[in-house]
Structures are given as structure tokens and as C-alpha cells.
Amino acid sequence: MLEIRNLHVSVDGKPVLNGIDLTIPAGEVHAIMGPNGSGKSTLAYVLAGREGYQVTAGEVRYQGSDLLALTPEARARAGVFLAFQYPVEIPGVANIYLLKAALNSVRKASGLAELDAMDFLALIRAKLKLMGMDEALLYRPVNQGFSGGEKKRNEILQMAVLEPKLAILDETDSGLDIDALKVVADGISSMRDAQRAIVLVTHYQRLLDYIVPDRVHVLSQGRIARSGGPELAKELERHGYGWIDAGRSSPMGEGP
């Protein structure tokens, strides 16, 4: 699904990612963890195509073709989805309008007929139920006046509507209380299937209590410092990120 080879990225001439190698097959959930400033969000933005990030070396292949050559909207239409850490407010545009425009542009790109208002409403109602969201949220301006939890849930709602092949969730767990976290995690879990790859970018281990990843990668200083199974996240939780850096300076590490 996704192959990242030797990816180097700079922001304003300053290197942020220093050679990322990562392969994520369809059907798997990978967690990318790491301390603040380790490059997690940069990686998410580069995959989605945000401006202002210079790829200085390396390549990213998505379903076998060059992902970095595509515009952000072309990536979205090809099935790449980014759930934002800080979802953007769009005053004046009803949430349902954005959702419908997004779904129809993605459908159009895959040669499917655009949904009319009635069919779309039926679809969105089913997805709302899944996310435990109130229909009133559809008619409010996109993310405007939403609570932190509503914003994050809205991101997952968009994902559920667009049904991406590669979903990158950037700190979707941050700022959520425990009940909201469970709802969001359930929403994400329901999207897990053999055709879809999911990347969970997170600072904390707690989301991974609900969504057990196939692989965990720990970013440090723009590199993947360590990869492992779900148990790696638990070790991190116990020892903190300092353990990774300490482990790097002494290749043997302390071990658990």
C-alpha cells in the first residue's frame, strides 16, 4: 500500500525528517509514536501533500506509483486521507456541504455516479450513528464552535464517509476525554479491514489500548529509532521516550 524509502524533508531549509524507511501493507494498522518535535506531524503532512515541506531526498510510493507527484486533492481522490490534529474551521460552509462535496469529488474520480441529496443523507445518517454524533452537527459550519471532541469525531466521520484506502490519523486522541476517546477508537476500529491501511500518529500509548496496532514505530530526531509489535508501545509507556534515545546512544540499551 505505502512504501517510504529514505525520505528526507526540510522545512525552511531545516532538516526535519532524516531518512525514513517504512512499508505499510494493506490490512495493517501501524502506530507512529515519538516525542514532540520528532517529525510525526511532518510525516503526516508530507504524505497528504501540504505546501511548505521540501522533500530533499527519497521517495514515497502509494499503490505502486509516485505519491509525491500528486496534488493534495488527487491524493485524496486516490484514497489517501489525513485526519488533522487541529481540524480547520470554515465559517459559512455547512458541515454536510463539505462532506457531500468531498464524497462526490472522490466518487467522480473513481468513475462512480455522484450521490444526490437524498442518497447522501441516508448514507450520512448511518455514519453519524456509528460515531454517536448528533445530526445537528451536519448543519453547523465546518468545525466552527465544535468542542475539541466534536472536531476529532468529525474527522473520523469524514473518514467513514470517504472510506479511504490509506488513512493517516494525526494525534486524533489528543484532547479527548476517556469517553470520547472510546467512541473515536471504536469508529476507527470499525474501519479496519483487509483492504485498508491505517497509520495512527500518536504521542501516547492510551489510544493503542483500544486499537491494537500490528506494528509500532518510534520516531526520534526525524528517523525511525525503533520498530516492533504492540508491546513496544507498552514499553515506551513504562520507560518514556528518553529510553529510546538512551537506547540509541548505547546500542544494547537497558532492556525491559
Binding site: E51, T71, I90, V93, A101, A102
Partner: protein
């Protein structure tokens, strides 16, 4: 990075795609302005004596005036002696004979805007006699309206056929001494529309299709007079979302509305004149005086405008709230792109008791566009319990445009309640990226955000017109992301 994201500068600098010229053989008087020219215009229109006298009084007053410069717009000096003040198309033979002769690019624009086929011919200047004949007007609507006693005709026809009505109401809202451009218009106005709705009559149709057909005739000094008698109702749609080009750079129109007791007038405008090229060359100067008079108690006048064209727009559709319980409304969307400048707003003059007014102004600036809202809310000592609510929102696209708000509030009655809200926001890269990451192109995202921003005003337009206005903003914004 390697990803070619839509560049804002590229989008902003796309050309205006919709202009066109039609070469017509014109029956024009020599350039320049003097009393002889005015007598000639009046004679060509076979006007009664009172009309000529009025024009001459206006001209003599105009000579004592100077061009106003208080608006936040700038332009090179206008040479009023270099303008030809009368030009009526007299032959269609030079124009395109069918749509096959019309610029295909223009036809594609009509397609995009969904202009009906028969109207495309009219707009593109294809030889259709009924349209271009400035002396007569399309008669089908007129017959239908005539049965109800509604008079709806070309202004010049009204001057001849209904001189008493014209005499009674012309200049009663915008006197010939009102301002520099209104005085000039009063002296030299070419033609326009006249509408009278008799007491108790509700005009059964939006007066739109009619106007669109006749819009080509109105020329650069247009004069419109609408009178709704007691308890009458009329909804009037001026202009056209389809692009219109004119070789005359200076436009100075005057519109007067009069609502008697219990009457209601809704006046909607969509203005899409040539805005000039992306360097700011050419384009129409649109200096318009529009004013309504709620003369009777319980009357209501609503202005709705969508302004996307012209190099300079200088326009303040206003309402004088004379009658008790009168209601005035102003809903406006003004978009400036490239080097377009707009100084627009309204005046709400509260004289009667319990008068209410609402102002909703949405300004959108892109490129190097300059957009100013200028509005006056005046509550006279006589206007007990007057209320006003004003909302002024500006949306900026890019970082080289400008938006200003100049609210003037004068209150002379302590029972008045006047509210003013203003906001400025910007379409940010983060909003565009957010939409793009959902599969929506930057252009569609801007269009979506701008239409959302304008929704409150579009809701005031008649349904069919609102859809057109929305499309128009989309088309206009093909060159205006920020």
C-alpha cells in the same frame, strides 16, 4: 516539495474570460457636452418641453459642481468633453448574424452560467430586432402587465406616454442637484426603465426576463423610476449574471424608487461589467446613485446587490424611511479582484416612527482589489423607536488586497437602537489545504467558502437568480484565489 499545488498567484492572474465587443453602426452625436448636445438628445427622443427644461436645469447645476473624491477609489481624471453622450444603435447588419458567428469562448461562458439559448443570442448581440430596437420594447410582457394596470416600459416611452407620472415623480427621490454624477445623468440620461404599479396590485412576475432582454439598450447614462402605489408590490431584477461589455468607460446611472403607503419594492441587482484586465487597464467606472423613498406608512424597500464587475464601483443604494413603520433593507455582496475598486454601502435615513432598517454587507477582496463599505445610519429627532442592525463582513483572499469599513452613525432620538457588527476574515492556506485533503480542488474550495460567506445575501435573491449569482461567483473566482 515536488507536489505542484495550485499556486495562488497563478489563479489570481487568470484573465477575465467573458468580455466581448459588438461592432454596431451607431447613430451618435459629436463628443463633448454643451446645451446644444442636450437639446439634440431631447429632440431625438421627441421629449416634451418639461423634460428638456429639466435636463437643462440639471446641466447648468452640474457646471457648478466638482467631481467628488471622498471615496477610497483612485482613477485618472475623466475628460467629460471626450465622451459621446448619445449613441443609439441603428442597424443590426454589422453584428453577428447567428450564434455561429459569436466567439466560442463567450458561448462556453453562457453555457457555464446556464443562460437559456434564446437569451444567449440577445446577449451576444445577434441580430434580433425586438431586442435592439431602442424605441420599442418587447410587447408580450407588456400586454400581460397592462391588464393589471401595470405600466412597464422604456423610460423614453414613459416620458411621451405618461408625462404626468414622470413629471410627478422624476427627481423626487434623487433631485437633479443631488450629486455630481446624478446631475450629469439628469442632464444626459439616455434611457432606462419606468415602472408603475397601481394601488393594491401585486405584480405577478419578477420583472427580470423583461429587463434582461432590454438591458442592452440602457447605455451608460441609465435612468430608472419605479413607483409602487398604495399596497402595491413589485420585485425587480436588474442586470444579468452573463458578462456584458461596453465600450463606454463611464457609467452614471440613477435609480429612484417610491413606495407609497403599505407598498413594497424589492430591487435586486447583479452587476458584471467588464472589470479591466489583470493589470488594471480598462474596465467600467460605475458611479451609480440609487435611492428609495418609503414615502407612505408601513411601506418597505429592499435592495439586494451582487457586484462582481466594473473597474470602479461607487454606489450606495439607500432608503429614506419617511412613513411610520417603514422598513428598509440592504443586502450586498461586492467582489473585487485584480485592480478592481469598490466603495459601496448604503444610507438608511430614519424619519418616521418605528422605522426599521437592516444592513448586511459582504465584501470580498482578492488580488490587488480594494473594497470599502461606507454606510450611514441616520436617526432623525422625529424617528421615535427607530431600529437598525448593521452587519459588515469582509473576506480577504491573499495578502495584497484591502478591505475597509466606514460606518457613519448619527442619532438624534434617544429611543433609537442602532447596532453595528463587523468582522474580517481571510481564506487561509490551511482552509484550502483542509478542503484539498478531502478531494476538493482549491478553486472549488474557494468557491464553496465564498458562497458560504455570501449565503445570507443570496438567500434574499429570488431562487433562480440566487443560483445564477452563485455560479457567477464561481466563474469570477476562477481568477481570484487567496
Amino acid at each position: 516539495m515536488a507536489t505542484p499545488i495550485l499556486n495562488l498567484d497563478d489563479l489570481i492572474s487568470q484573465d477575465y474570460k467573458h468580455g466581448f465587443f459588438t461592432q454596431l453602426e451607431a447613430d451618435a452625436v459629436p463628443r463633448g457636452l454643451n446645451e446644444e448636445v442636450i437639446r439634440l438628445i431631447s429632440a431625438k427622443k421627441e421629449e416634451p418641453e418639461f423634460m428638456l427644461e429639466w435636463r437643462l436645469k440639471a446641466y447648468r447645476h452640474w457646471l457648478t459642481m466638482t467631481e467628488p473624491h471622498w471615496a477610497t477609489v483612485s482613477h485618472p481624471p475623466i475628460d467629460y468633453q471626450a465622451i459621446s453622450y448619445y449613441s443609439a444603435p441603428k442597424s443590426r447588419k454589422e453584428g453577428p448574424q447567428s450564434l455561429a458567428d459569436v466567439d466560442p469562448e463567450l458561448l462556453r461562458t453562457y453555457e457555464k452560467l446556464g443562460v437559456p439559448l434564446e437569451e444567449r443570442e440577445l446577449l451576444a448581440g445577434v441580430a434580433v430586432d425586438a431586442v435592439f430596437d431602442s424605441v420599442s420594447v418587447a410587447t408580450t410582457f407588456k400586454d400581460k402587465l397592462g391588464e393589471l394596470g401595470i405600466i412597464f416600459c422604456a423610460f423614453s416611452e414613459a416620458v411621451r406616454e405618461h408625462p404626468d407620472l414622470v413629471r410627478q415623480y422624476l427627481g423626487s427621490v434623487v433631485p437633479y442637484t443631488d450629486n455630481f454624477f446624478a446631475s450629469l445623468n439628469s442632464a444626459v440620461f439616455s434611457d432606462g426603465s419606468f415602472c408603475y404599479i397601481p394601488p393594491g396590485v401585486r405584480c405577478p412576475m419578477e420583472l427580470s426576463t423583461y429587463f434582461r432582454i432590454n438591458a442592452r439598450n440602457t447605455g451608460q447614462f441609465e435612468r430608472t423610476l419605479i413607483i409602487a402605489d398604495r399596497d402595491a408590490y413589485v420585485s425587480y431584477l436588474e442586470g444579468c449574471t452573463a458578462p456584458m461589455r461596453d465600450e463606454n468607460q463611464l457609467h452614471a446611472a440613477v435609480v429612484e424608487l417610491i413606495a407609497l403607503e403599505g407598498a413594497q419594492i424589492k430591487y435586486a441587482t447583479v452587476q458584471n461589467w467588464y472589470p479591466g484586465d489583470k493589470e488594471g487597464r480598462g474596465g467600467i467606472y460605475n458611479f451609480v446613485t440609487k435611492r428609495g423613498d418609503c414615502r407612505g406608512a408601513d411601506s418597505k424597500i429592499s435592495w439586494t446587490q451582487v457586484e462582481t464587475g466594473s473597474a470602479i464601483t461607487w454606489k450606495y443604494p439607500s432608503v429614506i424611511l419617511q412613513g411610520d413603520n417603514a422598513v428598509g433593507e440592504f443586502y450586498s455582496v461586492a467582489l473585487t479582484n485584480h485592480y478592481q475598486q469598490a466603495d459601496t454601502g448604503t444610507k438608511m435615513i430614519h424619519l418616521g416612527r418605528n422605522t426599521r432598517s437592516t444592513i448586511v454587507s459582504k465584501g470580498i477582496s482578492a488580488g490587488h482589489g480594494r473594497n470599502a463599505y461606507r454606510g450611514l445610519v441616520k436617526v432623525a429627532a422625529s424617528a421615535t423607536n427607530a431600529r437598525n442592525h448593521t452587519q459588515c463582513d469582509s473576506l480577504l483572499l491573499g495578502d495584497r488586497c484591502m478591505a475597509s469599513t466606514f460606518p457613519y452613525i448619527e442619532v438624534k432620538n434617544p429611543t433609537a437602537r442602532v447596532e453595528h457588527e463587523a468582522s474580517t476574515s481571510r481564506i487561509g492556506e490551511d482552509q484550502l489545504f483542509y478542503c484539498q485533503s478531502r478531494g476538493i480542488s482549491a478553486e472549488d474550495a474557494v468557491s464553496m467558502i465564498v458562497n458560504g460567506f455570501c449565503k445570507e445575501v443570496f438567500n434574499k435573491l429570488p431562487m433562480e437568480f440566487a443560483v445564477e449569482a452563485q455560479k457567477l461567483l464561481g466563474v469570477s473566482l476562477e481568477g481570484s484565489i487567496g
